[in-house]
């Protein structure tokens, strides 16, 4: 159901991914072995989690550029708490991380809702503020592996049923967000507000509140990822995940989430993130210079958008013609 008009788009994207994997396999067969694919998935899990939140935000015609800064700040706070209180149990740290993420998302959401500031301006501002706060609380110093407790670092790497906890959290997030988006009034409101804010208002849906809720969701997922990220890489500093918000938006765009709002699916966001993840993991393996890697990632985004646009255009015209004949 979530894939009503996007089914073809997702099938196309899935197909492109298989072709890509096939091409990589001809030069580097080890890349497509299950063990390595699991590693790629694990590497991509943070991107997937963030893309899910970003998708909700984009569905409501907004954008959240502060996700990476939110992630970095939460990660720093989690690492500092761990340094100060090494015995604090992990679930409590998770709770703190998610709450902090929620708070930052709420700031974004309230500014958009209550003050009607354009989302791109709000999150550009809070992005800088959140990064600035990291500098203030850390004095610009790094927190390194030896300062973190073992259990803190081990949590995302623990293997359960063959997959690391990080991967499992990614999978759980996908399932949870899928249910939220397709099976709850809030999820439906995301589509309605983005698809036609006026009609949503007439149907008794509060657009501002719905957009705020999307920002809170995005913030919560960013907070969660903040701890996982810092623990996995065992380091926290001002610039972690610098520029990652662009990857997150790119994953959504590649996955067919319409920047105009109201259209997109969880499957699209996940596939978009995986597609970017495969490219990022495969290019170094097949010895392509880092400069080309950026250009290739960028081209993938442009091609995806071009495909989406051209896919939509003729369809609209045909519908119009049909409607005209039907009358």
């Amino acid at each position: 159901m979530s894939g009503r008009i996007h089914i073809s788009r997702e099938v196309v994207l899935g197909g492109a991914m298989l072709v890509l994997l096939g091409l990589i396999a001809t030069r580097f067969p080890a890349f497509v072995e299950p063990g390595n694919l699991a590693n790629v998935f694990n590497d991509t899990a943070p991107l997937i989690i963030l893309a899910l939140g970003q998708m909700a935000v984009i569905l409501t015609r907004c954008i959240d550029l502060s996700v990476a800064a939110n992630l970095a700040l939460t990660g720093m706070v989690a690492a500092m708490i761990n340094t100060a209180m090494p015995d604090l149990p992990i679930p409590l740290i998770l709770l703190v991380a998610v709450s902090l993420g929620v708070a930052m998302g709420l700031v974004n959401g309230l500014l958009v809702w209550r003050l009607s500031i354009p989302p791109i301006v709000v999150t550009l501002g809070t992005m800088t503020i959140y990064r600035g706060i990291i500098f203030l609380i850390s004095d610009g110093r790094w927190i390194n592996a030896h300062q973190m407790s073992d259990s803190f670092k081990a949590f995302p790497r623990q293997v359960l049923l063959g997959l690391p906890v990080l991967s499992w959290i990614g999978i759980l997030a996908v399932i949870a967000i899928f249910i939220l988006i397709t099976r709850t009034p809030l999820g439906r409101a995301f589509y309605a507000v983005g698809g036609n804010p006026n009609a949503a208002q007439y149907a008794g849906i509060n657009s501002g509140f719905t957009q705020c809720a999307a920002f809170v969701l995005s913030g919560a997922l960013a907070g969660l990822t903040g701890y996982l990220w810092v623990a996995r890489y065992a380091v926290a500093y001002v610039d972690i995940a610098g520029g990652f918000e662009l990857d997150v938006v790119a994953a959504c765009v590649i996955g067919g989430i319409s920047i105009a709002g109201g259209a997109g699916s969880v499957a699209g966001a996940v596939l978009g993130a995986l597609f970017l993840g495969i490219i990022k993991n495969a290019l170094p393996v097949i010895n392509i210079s880092p400069f080309w890697q950026l250009a290739i990632s960028g081209s993938a985004i442009l091609i995806a958008v071009a495909v989406n646009v051209t896919q939509n255009r003729p369809k609209g015209r045909v519908i119009l013609k049909k409607a005209e004949h039907a009358v």
Binding site: Y191, A192, A200, Y202, G204, A323, A326
Partner: protein, 521 residues
């Protein structure tokens, strides 16, 4: 009131009475037909504009006035018919081509550029140039000043347009029209938002343009000003020319009669109203700028029509009633109890629903399938413990779309793929699914085909028969008369009159809406 002269009765049925013709028409339209999907906007109409004369174009909303303006200015192309300038057949494939032949329009919302100066606005696109191809600012200011003087406007051409009020903006638009050497000036409701003094100045300006030999097409709903400025009239009804001639020799009554005519092929469902208790009572509703002192009551099983000209404040009032905008004062009672409605959600909760006029903008959520459009205001009804039940969503959507005889391949089809009439059915189904007590239908049949229209009318009658209270906001006189038990006419934000029974005549409605005094009951 002008004296009637027996020799010059208004001609009807498309025959033009231009016996007194002395000058040749500068612009004539003949046999113009224009269709849109499902609607014939104009069929075989003619219009002649003479130099130094003002022709008033009169007709109800939807009579085809704006379509003819768009054809004259090159925005629409006629399906059939001829446009002649000085007797030569021409075509206006673009707005630019129309301007080249000297046709220019001053619209209700004149399109000008806020941040540019008055002079720049007047000369945009054809500014005087220096030898080097740059804009000659001095020359431009000089020319702008002399143009503004010509129309008697006291405006400094070097100030930015945003500093001017609405009346002065009209003057700038007129100066612009003169700057491109217009021969035909179309004025579309030029006095709609002006004060009394500004209106008088506008009339003087029209006189001045006449004296300069411009042919003027003057579109207005106000009879007093038509009699003040016009030399000739042309009346459209339902896209057809029903009469034209000289203003000398007609009176208001004759024009009103031409405008409303008799409904031809529309049949409305017969029903015996079964009135119940009072459901809704509105007392003293007012808004700072849109409407004031609205009082009425509504009983179950009743269809109450709201008629008025565009801009009379009907939709604005309905939006306040539904909680979209806030009234400045007033109270409503539902079933005799004071009710406070601050948001659409509260209105829906209290059983009031509003089916807005603009389907695209306010009704359908394109991209969502039909069934999800239907359940949008009823999500609480189809979920349990916070989760939506898809089976119940389908059931609700199926129940209500079937009642409306919706033609769709499947309920999970995108609503954007449906025709206008079927989209309207989905939207009405959506509101009925909330099980309302009062349903407000704002122009429910605007722009939909005859078949769907009849279905919506039948259904409206059925709803009232089931005890729903219906408010019908419509600018179509046949519809509002054919469907309503009682009609409230609004004018300039106030209730101008209320009619029922014998008083429900087209003439009464038009007179009350246009503010023609002696018709007040």
């Amino acid at each position: 009131m002008l004296a009637k002269s027996p020799e010059k009765e208004p001609a009807a049925g498309g025959v033009r009475a231009d016996a007194a013709l002395e000058t040749r028409a500068v612009l004539s339209l003949a046999g113009i037909t224009k269709s849109f999907p499902g609607v014939k906007a104009l069929s075989g109409v003619a219009l002649d504009l003479y130099p130094g004369q003002v022709t008033a174009l009169i007709g109800e909303n939807g009579a085809g006035k704006s379509t003819i303006v768009k054809i004259l200015t090159g925005i629409y192309q006629p399906d059939e018919g001829e446009i002649r300038v000085d007797g030569e057949t021409v075509q206006f494939p673009t707005a630019e081509a129309a301007a080249r032949y000297g046709v220019t329009a001053i619209h209700q919302e004149t399109v000008l550029f806020e941040e540019l100066t008055v002079a720049e606005n007047i000369f945009i696109g054809h500014a005087p140039k220096t030898r080097f191809g740059l804009i000659d600012r001095k020359q431009m200011l000089r020319s702008a000043r002399s143009l503004l003087e010509r129309i008697g406007a006291k405006i400094d051409p070097s100030v930015p347009l945003k500093d001017l009020g609405i009346a002065n903006r009209h003057l700038v638009a007129i100066a612009r029209a003169l700057s491109i050497d217009a021969r035909v000036v179309i004025m579309d409701e030029p006095t709609a938002s002006l004060s009394h003094k500004e209106i008088e100045e506008t009339y003087e300006l029209v006189d001045r343009l006449k004296a300069e030999g411009k042919a003027i097409l003057f579109i207005s709903h106000k009879f007093d000003e038509i009699f003040r400025v016009a030399d000739r009239y042309t009346v459209f009804r339902d896209g057809e020319l029903v009469g034209s001639g000289l203003m000398q020799g007609v009176d208001e009554g004759q024009l009103v009669k031409l405008m409303v005519g008799r409904p031809v092929d529309q049949v409305f469902p017969k029903r015996t109203p079964n009135l119940g208790d009072e459901v809704l009572k509105v007392a003293g509703y007012a808004h700072p700028s849109e409407f004031e002192d609205i009082n009425f009551s509504l009983r179950s099983g009743e269809i109450l029509g709201f008629y008025g000209l565009v801009g009379a404040g009907r939709s604005e009032f309905m939006q306040a009633l539904f909680g979209i905008t806030k009234p400045s004062k007033g109270a409503i009672r539902i079933d005799g109890e004071i009710a406070v409605i601050r948001t659409p959600n509260e209105a829906i909760g209290k059983g009031i629903v509003y089916v807005p006029e603009d389907r695209g903008k306010q009704g359908a959520v394109k991209g969502l399938p039909i069934f999800q459009n239907v359940t949008l205001p009823s999500l609480g009804q189809v979920s349990s413990r916070g989760f939506l039940k898809m089976a119940e969503e389908f059931k609700l959507a199926r129940d209500y779309t079937q009642r409306l005889d919706l033609r769709a391949a499947a309920l999970d089809q995108d609503i954007g793929e449906l025709s206008g009439g079927n989209q309207q059915k989905v939207i009405i189904a959506k509101w009925l699914a909330t099980k309302p007590r009062v349903i407000i239908l704002d122009e429910p049949t605007k722009g939909i085909d005859i078949g769907s229209k009849a279905a919506v009318h039948d259904f409206m009658a059925e709803l009232a028969g089931e005890g729903l209270a219906v408010i019908l906001v419509s600018s179509e006189i046949p519809e509002v008369l054919g469907m309503s038990d009682r009609v409230i006419v609004m004018r300039e934000g106030r209730i101008a009159a209320e009619f029922e029974g014998e008083g429900l005549t087209p003439e009464n409605l038009v007179r009350a809406a246009a503010g023609i005094e002696e018709a007040r009951p």
